[in-house]
């Protein structure tokens, strides 16, 4: 089942305007290079606690942020990517990670609890209890009747309250899209060791459209675009965490690196000069943001 090509719709990248494809890449780069700065700041001990990195999984946040404009966001604990892709200000996330008053939650929440209530983004902070955001998001949809996206991992998908909340969304026909960022790991334990069932089958049995796909951003964009008209709905997305569950360590190369794959696809589409410029500009922006000389002064 799980693979880098699973459910990919061939030739889909060409269906979208090139600006959209480049924007997907830009958002993915913003996450990757922002977190490069986080990793170096942890190594240099400017950040002296465990961080939860989105690197490797960037395509989901990038594509969903393009597909789901105007949705209230209930992110999971691994949420830097969601924050940055949906339009959070990078400097405020940096300040949050540094525990500063100018951070997204005045430096009180930290890496796994990021919120954003500006730039027309309504992203509610997670507190670190996996899956907790799913009933909260469902309740927010019930209370406001506004569309909601809930992100959670393959581990959180196993929490009883997650699928109980999904069932409630079906009963009350709530406008919620449930997105499982399936990196096949709960800390280090793989899905097939933990369970014999599929959360996608559970979602379907509850009565909502549900599908497994891989984290090809165009496929995510296409699927979310279709599903957002038939909410509630569920998308399980295979993806690869590049770093440890918590912390900046690495356990060898990931199964695939979607950022490189998207870069190659853009090259095939004849967009390499534009994509190279995007990447270069983001690198420069993030290096400036995480400049050690600047950090020392903060």
């Amino acid at each position: 089942m799980r693979s880098k090509d699973f459910g990919v719709i061939p030739g889909l990248s060409k269906k979208y305007p090139k600006e959209t494809s480049l924007e997907l890449f830009r958002r993915m780069c913003a996450i990757r290079y922002f977190e490069q700065g986080v990793i170096e700041s942890v190594q240099a001990k400017y950040i002296d606690y465990l961080v939860y990195l989105s690197s490797g999984q960037e395509a989901i946040a990038a594509a969903m942020s393009v597909a789901l404009q105007g949705f209230m966001i209930f992110a999971q604990h691994r949420c830097h990517g969601t924050y940055l892709a949906f339009g959070g200000t990078p400097a405020k996330l940096r300040d949050e990670l540094l525990g500063m008053d100018t951070g997204t939650s005045r430096g009180r929440a930290g890496s796994n609890c990021v919120q954003c209530h500006e730039n027309e983004v309504a992203m509610f902070g997670h507190h670190g209890l996996i899956g907790e955001n799913v009933p909260l998001g469902v309740g927010a949809a019930l209370g406001s009747n506004k569309p909601v996206v809930c992100f959670f991992g393959d581990g959180a998908a196993e929490e009883d309250y997650v699928f109980a909340a999904m069932g409630f969304a079906v009963t009350h026909r709530l406008p919620v899209i449930f997105v499982c960022e399936d990196n096949n790991l709960s800390i280090l334990t793989k899905v097939d060791i933990r369970r014999s069932w599929s959360i996608t089958h559970v979602a379907r049995a509850l009565g909502m459209p549900a599908v497994d796909i891989t984290d090809d951003p165009w496929t995510i964009l296409e699927t979310a675009g279709q599903f957002k008209n038939t909410l509630p709905a569920f998308i399980n997305i295979y993806t690869c965490r590049a770093n440890w569950h918590a912390g900046v360590g690495v356990d060898g190369p990931p199964e695939w690196d979607r950022l490189s794959m998207v870069r190659e696809e853009l090259e095939k589409m004849g967009l390499s000069s534009q994509s190279e410029k995007i990447e270069k500009d983001i690198i420069a922006e993030m290096e400036k943001l995480w400049d050690k000389k600047h950090l020392q002064k903060l």
Binding site: M72, S105, R106, R108, A109, C113, Q115, H117, F124, G125, H127, L129, E132, V134, P135, L136, G137, V138, G139, A140, A141, L142, G143, S144, K146, D160, Y161, V162, A164, A165, G167, F168, T171
Partner: protein
């Protein structure tokens, strides 16, 4: 005659909230068996939750996040062990962490004599965690007061109700007497029993002050609370929850230090509340309160 019971008062407040203020009320089996002891009106804005305790509480908190001021009804406080997670870990923390509140009003209903998981009084657990207001109103006016406090603030509130109080129409006043031997501080349903104990002890020549405790958290040591104790020099805090690490001991400790007087705690014995009569481990009644007071006075001689 003509006075409203506490149950009717709750129903009236709820009706106004749902019909006039875009409120919501969520809970399990709300309409079944008499609309939660006739405290819930049959109006719009009621959400019947499936029997999913943890998710149900999360859904209520989510509705609070978007400004619906939900009333979350828990028919038996023991279920708070299941419902507690979204309340404790999210609703009570979000204001401090994110500056964004989730004001959910939790109607946590207690009973007695209904067995091991339907007779608990768990408000002390919620006193323990930061971020809640915790109260235990037993009269119509007290309920109006705590509701107003909830609506004026943006904190999640644990309203520890007791089924024994629902028919009550009377306001409960403190009792202070000259040269009291002891000051009783009573919480929740034990307030009715403490009032009986005061009368009974009087017959035996023991003079008692009785102070009613409505607010468990924040617990402000006001003159009303502390003055009777300073005069009697001896206090007893009575709570229907378990005594060990419970509300009675916590409040006794605070009073103890504030007044520099000896204050004892009386709660449930450290054993399960069984369904069958000899093993019910019921909340302290007038008889137990009297016995405890007499033992305290004997020791003090």
């Amino acid at each position: 005659m003509g006075q409203k019971t506490l149950a009717e008062t709750i129903k009236e407040i709820t009706s106004d909230h749902l019909e006039q203020h875009n409120g919501l009320l969520l809970g399990e089996s709300i309409s079944a068996v008499g609309w939660v002891n006739n405290t819930v009106p049959n109006v719009k804005g009621i959400v019947e939750l499936p029997m999913t305790d943890v998710a149900g509480a999360g859904i209520a908190v989510g509705a609070a996040l978007v400004g619906r001021r939900p009333i979350f009804v828990i028919r038996f406080q023991d279920f708070l062990i299941l419902n507690g997670s979204p309340l404790i870990f999210f609703a009570a923390k979000t204001k401090e962490l994110h500056g964004k509140s989730a004001p959910v009003f939790v109607r946590a209903i207690a009973s007695d004599g209904l067995g091991p998981v339907h007779s608990g009084v768990l408000h002390s657990i919620f006193m323990h965690f930061p971020g809640f207001r915790v109260c235990s109103p037993m009269t119509p006016n007290e309920y109006r007061e705590i509701w107003e406090t909830y609506m004026k603030n943006d904190d999640p509130m644990i309203c520890s109700e007791h089924r024994l109080s629902y028919p009550n129409t009377q306001e409960l006043s403190d009792i202070t007497v000259e040269n009291a031997h002891v000051t009783l501080y009573a919480i929740s349903c034990t307030r009715f029993e403490a009032a009986k104990a005061v009368e009974s002890l009087k017959i035996d020549g023991i003079r008692c002050n009785l102070v009613n405790i409505l607010w468990l958290k924040p617990f402000d040591i006001t003159d009303r609370l502390i003055q009777p104790l300073k005069e009697s020099k001896l206090g007893l805090v009575i709570d229907p929850g378990h005594e060990i690490a419970g509300a009675a001991r916590s409040i006794a400790y605070e009073l103890n230090f504030a007044a520099e007087c000896s204050v004892k705690a009386l709660g449930l014995e450290d054993r399960t509340k069984c369904l069958c009569p000899p093993y019910k481990n019921m909340a302290p009644n007038a008889e137990i309160i009297c016995k405890t007071v007499k033992e305290m006075l004997k020791k003090g001689e």
